[in-house]
């Protein structure tokens, strides 16, 4: 068991170190989300009254597309360098490698969120509070597990840009519904925050377990 | 009332069409491979 954790951490560290050295992904994602907010601002004519209801939607939309790019990218790189096969050719368990990749991708996405959330507060004037941050982080975990699993799957398939959203978005819907609701309440709308958060945690557990079980079939030869 | 008609017409078209198509497909493939 401990070697699995060591391997997962090594894989995540490797990804984060590679990203820190090349600094391609997070700046690109950050730029992407800020642009998304600007476009949304003009698209929706935001004013103080409707900001709390529109901002959550914009937040999740930006997060979903940033996530798709981030997860697709981490596995595309592995495929181009054919380093995924090199990793699989070791006795390391596919689940450990998958967990490492998912952890790495999660942290990259959190890096992007660190730009997205303050920018949202700046542009939309909506509050930035711990409940919002907690919701986004919790949702990121489950979304990353699913995103990574299907990114790993489509990395070796043709027309992968088309396939990744088609397979991943339906599975992200529960996170967007519960996460969207939690953020709206945290921004002042009426409704239940705790219930939404509890839902997010349930979905996280369900899909992290399921993706770990499925990892060895997707990362197989 | 019109929606009822359209709804069932659509259902018959899709289900019936698919059934006929797959039967024709079956007949085609069976004739190409008569062995059994």
């Amino acid at each position: 068991m401990s070697s699995t954790i060591a391997i997962a951490l090594a894989v995540a560290r490797k990804d984060l170190r590679a990203e820190w050295r090349t600094r391609e992904l997070v700046p690109a994602l950050a730029q992407f989300v800020v642009l998304a907010l600007v476009i949304a601002n003009f698209g929706f004519q935001i004013d103080a009254r409707n900001a709390p209801t529109i901002a959550p939607g914009v937040l999740w939309m930006a997060l979903v597309f940033a996530g798709l790019v981030a997860f697709g990218r981490t596995f595309a790189a592995e495929r181009e360098q054919s380093s995924l096969e090199a990793m699989l050719m070791t006795p390391a368990s596919p689940v450990a490698i998958f967990a490492g990749k998912a952890l790495g991708a999660t942290l990259l996405l959190v890096g992007c969120e660190a730009v997205l959330l303050p920018a949202l507060t700046l542009f939309f004037g909506t509050p930035l509070s711990f409940p919002i941050i907690a919701t986004v982080l919790l949702a990121t975990i489950g979304m990353a597990a699913l995103g990574c699993l299907f990114a790993a799957m489509v990395a070796r398939v043709r027309a992968r840009e088309l396939l990744l959203p088609l397979l991943t978005l339906p599975l992200w819907i529960p996170f967007i519904v519960a996460g969207g609701q939690a953020v709206q309440v945290a921004m002042g709308a009426s409704g239940t925050y705790d219930q939404a958060l509890a839902l997010l945690i349930d979905f996280d557990i369900l899909f992290v377990v399921l993706t770990s079980l499925a990892a060895r079939f997707v990362l197989d030869e | 009332m019109i929606y009822l008609v359209i709804a069932y017409a659509f259902a018959v078209a899709v289900l019936g069409g698919y059934l006929v198509w797959s039967l024709r497909q079956l007949r085609l493939l069976e004739s190409k491979r008569p062995e059994r």
């Binding site: 070796r156 396939l163 | 899709v14 059934l19 079956l26 491979r33």
Partner: protein, 232 residues
């Protein structure tokens, strides 16, 4: 007339009987009028679709454990037929929503999860077509099938939960009067029979399309004639 065509004829006869029950035997709904009769085939096709995707789940799970080729074929058959029934269910649902709620789409939990069901299994068939034929396609499809099967109730639950916070139009479906219930159960049975026949036909088609299985080991034959480069 081979046995598949005989079975198909029998299934069609059953469906005609069901149509008779729907239009002649079942009473008209007091509240919604004749348009309520869409309910019978709409819900039956949803159940048939879900039954098909249970077959896909089963086939996929067996394939992942034992690489049994027949299980993979069964999953392929179930997915195609399931998608056909989901399409019928989705369109009928929208055609029913228009007269009652005034709009084709109202993000009602059932309609939404049917749409998600449709998207997932369209993705399932696409993955099967795009992946390297044989073992990779079968394995990836099986994973998508399993996640798809789990995701639909989760989506249904989360949308229903969302509805509790954002109430919207709801179909008033209190307990069905006996004649309606009888008609529905009969229609559902006939629809499931039709689905089963369709799956059997599709399974036979997949078997023929697979062609002779290269001997000797438990082997996944290559499907299709595309010259697939080994994907690095």
């Amino acid at each position: 007339m081979n046995r598949y065509e005989k079975a198909a004829a029998a299934a069609v006869a059953l469906m005609v009987l069901a149509a008779g029950a729907i239009f002649l035997f079942a009473p008209t709904d007091a509240l919604q009028g004749p348009v309520q009769r869409i309910f019978y085939l709409h819900v039956s096709s949803a159940i048939a679709a879900y039954g098909c995707f249970a077959v896909v789940l089963l086939g996929g799970a067996i394939y992942l454990r034992s690489e049994n080729l027949a299980a993979d074929r069964l999953a392929r058959a179930g997915a195609v037929v399931g998608l056909v029934f989901t399409t019928v269910c989705l369109v009928m649902g929208m055609l029913w929503a228009k007269p009652i709620w005034g709009a084709f789409w109202t993000w009602d939990a059932r309609l939404t999860s049917t749409l998600v069901l449709w998207i997932i299994y369209a993705g399932y068939l696409l993955v099967r077509r795009l992946a390297e034929p044989g073992r990779q396609a079968a394995r990836f499809a099986a994973v998508v099938g399993i996640f798809g099967f789990v995701d639909v109730p989760v989506v249904h639950f989360s949308v229903t939960w969302w509805r509790t916070v954002h109430p919207g139009p709801v179909i008033v479906n209190d307990a069905l009067p006996p004649e309606m219930l009888a008609t529905f159960l009969f229609t559902m049975a006939c629809t499931l029979a039709l689905a089963a026949v369709m799956i059997a036909i599709r399974y036979r088609l997949e078997t023929l399309a697979d062609g002779p299985v290269p001997e000797p080991a438990k082997v996944v034959a290559a499907v299709g004639s595309r010259d697939a480069e080994p994907v690095r």
